[in-house]
Amino acid sequence: MSNPLRDMEKPDVIFAIGTNMTECHPVAATRLKKALTSGATMVVADPRKTRLAKMAHLHLPIRVGSDVALLLAMAHVIQREGMIDDSFIAHRTTGGPEFLEHIKQFTPEWASEICEVPAEDIEQAGLIYGRGNPSAIYYTLGITEHICGVDNVQSLCNLALMTGNLGVEGGGINPMRGQNNIQGAGDCGAVPANFPGFQPCGDPEFAKKFSEAYQTEIDAEKGITKVTALNTCGNGIHAMLIDGENTVVSDPDKNHCEHALKSLDHLVVIDIFLTETAELADVVFPATAWGETDGVQTNTERRVQRLRQAVPPVGEAKPDWWIVSEIAKRMGTPGFEYESAKEVFNELCSLSPIYAGLDWDRIENGEYQWPVPEEGHPGTPRLHEKEFKNGRGVFKVIGYRDPAEVISEDFPLWLTTGRRLQAYHTRTQTGRSAGIEYLLPNETLEVHPDDAATLGLAHGGLAKLSSARGTIEIPVKVTDMSPKGTVFTSFSFANVPVNVLTGSGYDPVTETAELKVCPVKVEPV
């Protein structure tokens, strides 16, 4: 997030797109509710009539995967009505003139055809966002899990840049991170393109820095992504170490994924349960769980916070860092003589400029938000206040593209997937917590009453749900939460493996899977 969570109580206009926030980030949503109570206006763009959508002043139930068209037309309206921030564009950005020229062609009428919502509503959304002082954008995976995920994010940036809504209190562009430490995994350099602290792998200077620190010659080029790695298992990639991820259930195209992992010579999995992924491994190590482990995690507003051990680990479980270090030592890899989590974290701080002012003792009370470039620095609750990291904010000229697969005669409905309030991810944890099943006993497919009638589906009855990749069976819930023509379910239940169906494409830049859009057909069983 560019802005701190507490800023969520302060916007004048809230634009929430592709986020089911009341279910996925409930506590953040309570802050938006407070902003609404004190008079903020909210626009929600989401195919589904979520709780957040019901609270909105304007809800745009856009067709799944049509976000870019909506955002282009909103930008069009903002420019046409003279609501752009000329001074911000002139002093803080580049590419403004080209972008402003580009959007002249994208009228609300044009977008209306693609998004399947009235042009007047698109016009209104543009006017409301353009008028807000400040306007804040919130989004989650509904924006990124598309083949055009990067385009979506960039289109949101364009909106914020043209209206000067960056670096201001109560404004900004705010992705809500879905997992407790997904931000932290990136901070720590567990990505193919960056060393710890987002120091790019492609830059020889940093390759040299880490080659020296790790006493090994490290490639001065990016690695491949997990998606590519899974695609080349048995044919390029022959061994994998997976820590705490249930790849088989959470990734798209389950069968492909299982097949990939099975074709490895050597698979080692570290986890707290014998997940579907761990079952395929040659060696499985028991890790200590939350509540049993000392450590650090970074939240969605870049706040670096301490996790603390409350109880002893079960059985012989060990912390992940200890397990990884023991394997490394046995392989003769230098630099793994850690005695504690504290030593590991302090080494990270010493190599990462955004953590340079931090160490284990300084984060005791969680008051720092990175970057913290040196000791004594107060941290950075709000990004881009005076300047952007690379000087100026860059406008990107973007066009609309259809999803990788579109509906057809064979697969006439859109399937979109998401999370539920009471379940988390693949339910390895919430599914094993007492009482949660009372609130969410099983998964359902949400179908609009009109579609249910046409297809002959009964509320509570079973349906066969198929895509080009496979078929699953799932109970039907008839509800107007889903718009006509679109069905929804979550990927939380292993007995309803929705990711057998998904996986039609990937964003060419980030290789994020298009989990949000998949043409399907639904039949009664």
Partner: protein, 366 residues
């Protein structure tokens, strides 16, 4: 809006006299806020500093010179030149009588601390004021909704004192309006929408009403399973393991077992709020399915328990073999977005330092 809490002295110089001492305050502060800042302890029951003051319990009354009746300090704004007494004999007597009355209506004064964050408030006050006198033989108010089979929230309205904190937290903090008030006065009863089970209401089971309840009328059913479990309750500050908001929590443990979770009122990301997952989905770590020993695949094709040395050796040799046979670009690492930094950091270092590649990723792509 940007007022002067930090430099009250210099800006406007509003002053009042508090128990004979001159104190400064800024415009808009209530007597209660000024007094608390000046370290006066004024008892309250219907007050939660995250909510709009309500003025229902009248425990917080103080004497203000020139006003005949005592005023509720939580709802009365401080005025320049005000002379306030927080603890006169008359006021203390009034408070004791109020507490005696409240105590007489409540079946159960001794509430297990696992009930919730604020569950000891009434009991503590009753004891401080020596109000267990039984001077009033009150009728019991409210009734228990024991039919509600939800596994998380105990609703025992026999203990309800009608402070409306639950209703207000639900409306003001959560914006959920899941609970409401039925009837007024003595027959007041806090009800779920349509007087039904919470599951059938707008309730999201965030537990906030439980945590603000000062009497244990609403209680944490899940934590109370361990009410009788041996051992002191230990509190450990940590962070919720679910989404990226990063809510601060206090883990409650007895011996080797986590028995419950309290929201941290001073948590920077959540300021006392939690959702159903952070509040109630903590016991997965005690599930019987937890892996307890390393497993290795043996010749029969099945996974079998092994000791650490053997398993680590097999893991290490497998990677070395792959490197020798297929080259250093044949090994890939996937780090977790769930585990702490130390896991992700050591994972990426493992790949980079062992193989000199950047063949590492995490689960954010799916």
């Amino acid at each position: 809006m940007l007022t002067t809490v930090n430099n009250v002295d210099t800006e406007r110089s509003l002053k009042m006299t508090l128990d004979g001492e001159e104190v400064s305050f800024s415009d808009g502060e209530t007597i209660y806020e000024v007094a608390t800042r000046a370290r006066r302890e004024i008892p309250t029951l219907c007050y939660d500093d995250r909510l709009e003051a309500f003025g229902a319990c009248r425990l917080c009354v103080v004497e203000v010179e020139g006003i005949r009746n005592p005023v509720a300090s939580c709802t009365t704004k401080a005025n320049d030149g005000m002379v306030v007494k927080t603890r006169t004999e008359a006021i203390e007597k009034h408070r004791k009588t109020l507490l005696e009355l409240v105590a007489s209506e409540n079946r159960n004064l001794d509430v297990n601390p696992l009930s919730g964050y604020a569950s000891q408030e009434l009991t503590k006050l009753v004891d401080i004021y020596g109000a267990r006198t039984g001077r009033f033989q009150g009728k019991k108010s409210g009734t228990t909704n024991t039919n509600d089979k939800n596994p998380f929230i105990l609703r025992d309205y026999d203990n309800c004192i009608s402070c409306y904190r639950c209703v207000r937290v639900c409306a003001e903090q959560e914006g959920d309006y899941a609970i409401n008030v039925m009837n007024r006065g003595f027959h007041t009863q806090i009800i779920a929408e349509f007087n039904n089970d919470l599951r059938d209401s707008q309730c999201t089971f965030c537990g906030q009403c439980v945590q603000t309840c000062p009497t244990g009328a609403l209680g944490d059913k899940k934590a109370l399973r361990d009410a009788e479990t041996e051992g002191e309750i230990k509190k450990t500050r940590s962070i919720c393991p679910y989404c990226g908001v990063g809510c601060s929590v206090d883990l409650l443990s007895k011996g080797d077992k986590i028995v419950g979770v309290l929201p941290a009122m001073d948590g920077p990301a959540n300021e006392g709020a939690l959702c159903v997952k952070g509040q109630f989905a903590f016991d997965f770590i005690q599930n019987a399915d937890r892996l307890k020993k390393p497993l290795v695949r043996r010749d029969d094709g099945e996974l079998h328990e092994a000791d650490w040395d053997e398993a680590l050796e097999i893991a290490a040799q497998g990677f070395l073999r792959a490197k020798k046979r297929y080259g250093r670009h044949s090994i890939y690492g996937v780090a977790s977005g769930r585990a702490p930094h130390e896991a992700a950091y050591s994972m990426q270092k493992f790949i980079r330092a062992s193989f000199g590649t950047n063949y590492i990723d995490n689960c954010s792509r799916a």
